[in-house]
Amino acid sequence: MRSYRRTTIRSTDRLRLGPGAKAMFNRCVAVALAGGVAAVAGSMYAQDSYRRFMLAYVTAFAFVLSLSLGGLFFVLIQHLTRAGWSVLVRRPAEILAANLGLTAVLFLPIAGAVAIGGGEVYPWAGGGAHAVAAKAAAEAQPVQAHEDGHALEAGAAQAGGHGKEGGHEERLAKKRAYLNPPFFLLRWVGYFALWGGLGYWYWRSSSKQDASGDHRLTVRMETLAGPALLLFGLTITFGAIDLLMSLDPHWYSTIFGVYYFAGSAVAVLAALIVIFAGLQRAGYLAQSITVEHYHDLGKMLFGFVFFWGYIAFSQYMLIWYANIPETTGWFRTRGATTVAADINGWTWVGLMLVIGNFVLPFVGLLSRHVKRYRPTLVFWAGWLLVMHYLDLLWLVMPEFGPQLTLGVVEIGVLAWVAGLYLAGAVYLAGKHDLAPSRDPRLPESLAFENM
């Protein structure tokens, strides 16, 4: 058996959040409160305030959900591959995954919006007439632009799902078996039962091991990882379809689940890098986590940035190339076009994503030196978190209208949801060690070197 010089975390390394946790928790709650007040106040002055508030809420919820699901994915994949290097960086991902319980609570406003059946947020949730009216109001502007005598392409797209109210109704009716409030709510109960259960179980097993050091816990976690990942893949796909794709119930894309997954993976890796930089700055795990761990997280981040770009390109290019009105409408709403009449406020966000969520971080993270120098790595991680939010904003908010809406409502709601989410995460983090301190593969992670 291989012997390692060091088999435990140095006693000088702070492993517990301790009294700092309380202050951090309070700060998160304060941010949440301030955000909530700002969001409510902001939406009072906004047009069509309920829809705007709720769509902003869906965006913020999709953001925190992607962190948790990304965390669950990270934990599962490490166990599935029996990874050794990642033991020291696994705990925060476990905490994000365990936080899925709180995320389920954060889902309640969306569940409520669907249950009362207004159809303002999810057009399929309301009675047919209501949904069509809301949709038509949202589309008033492009229709006018069309009347101004602009490009024929707009007309072609119009003839597809969007403008034609008769076909609209008829097609929605065909999907009723899937897109209806009771089944939607039932599915989300199922998703959260699975996600929350898995997240809690992995966090619980891993923290139990802190006390017992029982290697059989690792064996159990590794055994479950395969089936869990299978279920995860299915549920994140349908979760993404339900939460984001069905905002425009006519549009469909088989890659959509993968798209949301790719964004989640980028988000959680970026979040882990930021979290560790913060923890180490505050004096936690100062010696155990080394540049080598950052380097590996950076490599994975780089890989998933590329993966996101690949998936996003595949989706856009294939729909653009075939140019079938059934599927181009969604990109038209988002201004992803060169047709002058269809360029709207979201065009610039879309371009920003191409450059800011793919080209720049790809070039920026390419070098080994960037990934091994904490300030530059943390910069790109923070940058990518912002971009991930913009990506979700671009998926959701164009359903509100063609103007770019990123104001006090969106930012306030984000602060509110993310503040509560982080408060939950801090609460969980305070309960146990910040790293799996008696994992049987810990010595490998402590001695880990890339070069």
């Binding site: 058996m1 595949s314 994992d439």
Partner: protein, 494 residues
């Protein structure tokens, strides 16, 4: 044949210190190389394959492969002298066996690149035992693949028109066509794979050069060893080049089959136009590629006495990758069906219903059984460590992945929007002959490789053996359990 099996059985009986290295006990990493092997026994075992008397089994296999290659030759000559009309494809099924075989063979190649590039970046050290012949397989598979589109253009002697070569007729290829992207994607892939394979082989070629007895062998191996002398400068440059090539080859694993999927997905044809095609094709390619690696690895380790180098753990790991990628493929089948229903579009729904229940339902059934049902056996460790079950699953996937391409291409084409233009497709004897013949080409090249080149990457295998890390001290992170961290004969200060 019998003497061969007895001999290898005798070989493995000689040194079995430890047989089972498939344990997943988190307290201890398993050894990757079994038996009482050291650096020199590894070299002996691998170079012996190239130098000792050729076994009879090899000649038998070679004769079969060569006859199939002959069949390919006959078919190609008949095709060229008569025209592509000798194939069964015609409107409405204008693409059939030619493109099916092309996609099938390109896909096979992906496992090699994944093993050599991606698993290298992921520090999966078990790859060292299998990467060499998986890479060889890649290159031969790409050669088989290239054959079909080249013949499908009808006049292969004008195939250079596919490249944008300035010419007085001002005739340029259509840059908007994914078929042209294929030309670049596949040729880049072939070039980088070849380079990667060759660069990785240089130290081993030098070993063969040094051990060769005959003058011809010495000169030929020497020529290709590029003057390798094993100095640390050689090794330094080698490691650098290998890392860079791995990084360059990694996007190619994604790009080639993505571009192949674009051939279909950019079209407006229901069943072809679906956005999940690129990642789904990549997963399918890796899936099919690992099935082929297993198909080759299981007999090869048996016949060439490599059971201690390609151990059960290697086979088990490959099975796991096959299961994982197979599940991604199953996911894609499922999501395509769901989305076809969800879209509410009549033609989308019909295309998928027709696949599952139309006249080609049998092909769809074969595909689902082979790709979705059979690999589920691999969830169980008992199955992953039984070579007969492994071979069964691998064979199923080989067949299933061929049928997958058949289902996608033929069933989508044979019934499109207008029932008046529907039709059926039947392959001719030339179609079947060329499919069989492509296997002949593949196995002929592969057998030649097994006979004359180092089948296992000796230099790389040695790096994952405990002895390679003897002087690093206990704080060095390695993948190998180290029974004897600091042998007394070596200086401690490293």
């Amino acid at each position: 044949m019998t003497s061969m099996t007895e001999k290898s059985a005798g070989l493995s009986a000689r040194v079995h210190v430890k047989v089972d290295n498939t344990s997943d006990d988190p307290r201890q990493r398993e050894e990757l190389i079994l038996g009482d092997n050291n650096f020199s026994t590894i070299t002996d075992r691998v170079t012996d394959l190239a130098f000792r008397r050729t076994p009879l089994a090899w000649y038998v296999a070679f004769a079969i492969s060569l006859s199939l290659l002959g069949l390919l030759g006959v078919c190609v000559i008949y095709l060229l002298t008569t025209g592509v009309g000798v194939w069964g494809n015609n409107v409405p099924v204008a693409w059939a066996f030619d493109i099916v075989n092309f996609v099938f063979w390109v896909g096979i190649g992906h496992a090699g690149t994944l093993i050599s590039a991606i698993l290298f970046l992921f520090r999966q050290n078990w790859r060292t035992s299998i990467n060499r012949f998986a890479e060889a397989m890649t290159i031969f598979a790409v050669m088989c693949a290239g054959l079909f589109p080249a013949l499908h253009v009808g006049r292969p002697w004008l195939a250079y028109w596919l490249f944008p070569i300035p010419n007085q007729m001002a005739m340029w290829p259509q840059a908007r066509s994914p078929l042209l992207w294929d030309v670049f994607a596949v040729s880049t892939y072939a070039t980088v794979s070849m380079l990667f394979w060759y660069v990785g082989m240089i130290p081993d070629l030098a070993t063969l050069r040094d051990r060769a007895k005959g003058r011809v062998a010495q000169v030929v191996y020497g020529l290709f060893a590029l003057g390798w002398n094993g100095s640390s400068r050689c090794w330094h440059r080698f490691e650098r080049a290998y890392l860079l090539l791995a990084a360059l080859a990694t996007p190619l694993v994604l790009s080639v089959h993505s571009v192949v999927s674009f051939d279909f997905a950019v079209a407006q044809l229901p069943g072809w136009h679906t956005t999940v095609f690129p990642p789904y094709f990549v997963a399918g390619a890796v899936f099919g590629g690992f099935a082929m690696v297993l198909t080759l690895a299981v007999p090869a380790r048996q016949w060439f006495g490599l059971k201690e180098i390609i151990t059960m753990r290697h086979l088990e790991n490959m099975c796991k990758i096959m299961l994982g990628t197979g599940l991604i493929v199953a996911y894609a089948y499922g999501i395509e069906f769901f989305t076809a229903w969800y879209s509410g579009e009549h033609y989308e729904q019909f295309a998928f219903l027709n696949r599952a229940t139309g006249p080609y339902a049998w092909a769809y059934g074969v595909m689902v059984f082979c790709n979705v049902c059979a690999p589920q056996l691999l969830w169980f460790k008992k199955c992953r460590t039984n070579i007969w079950v492994i071979l069964f699953c691998a064979m199923c996937v080989n067949v299933g992945m061929w049928f997958e391409r058949f289902v996608i291409i033929v069933t989508s084409l044979h019934r499109d929007f207008v029932p008046g233009s529907w039709g059926m497709y039947m392959p001719t004897w030339v179609d079947l002959g060329m499919l069989a013949g492509s296997f002949g080409l593949f196995f002929t090249l592969f057998l030649l490789f097994c006979r004359f080149l180092p089948m296992v990457a000796m230099a790389e295998v040695k790096t994952v053996m405990p002895a390679a890390h003897a002087t690093h001290g206990p704080d060095r992170y390695d993948y190998q359990p180290d029974p004897d961290p600091v042998p007394p004969t070596l200086p401690k200060s490293h």
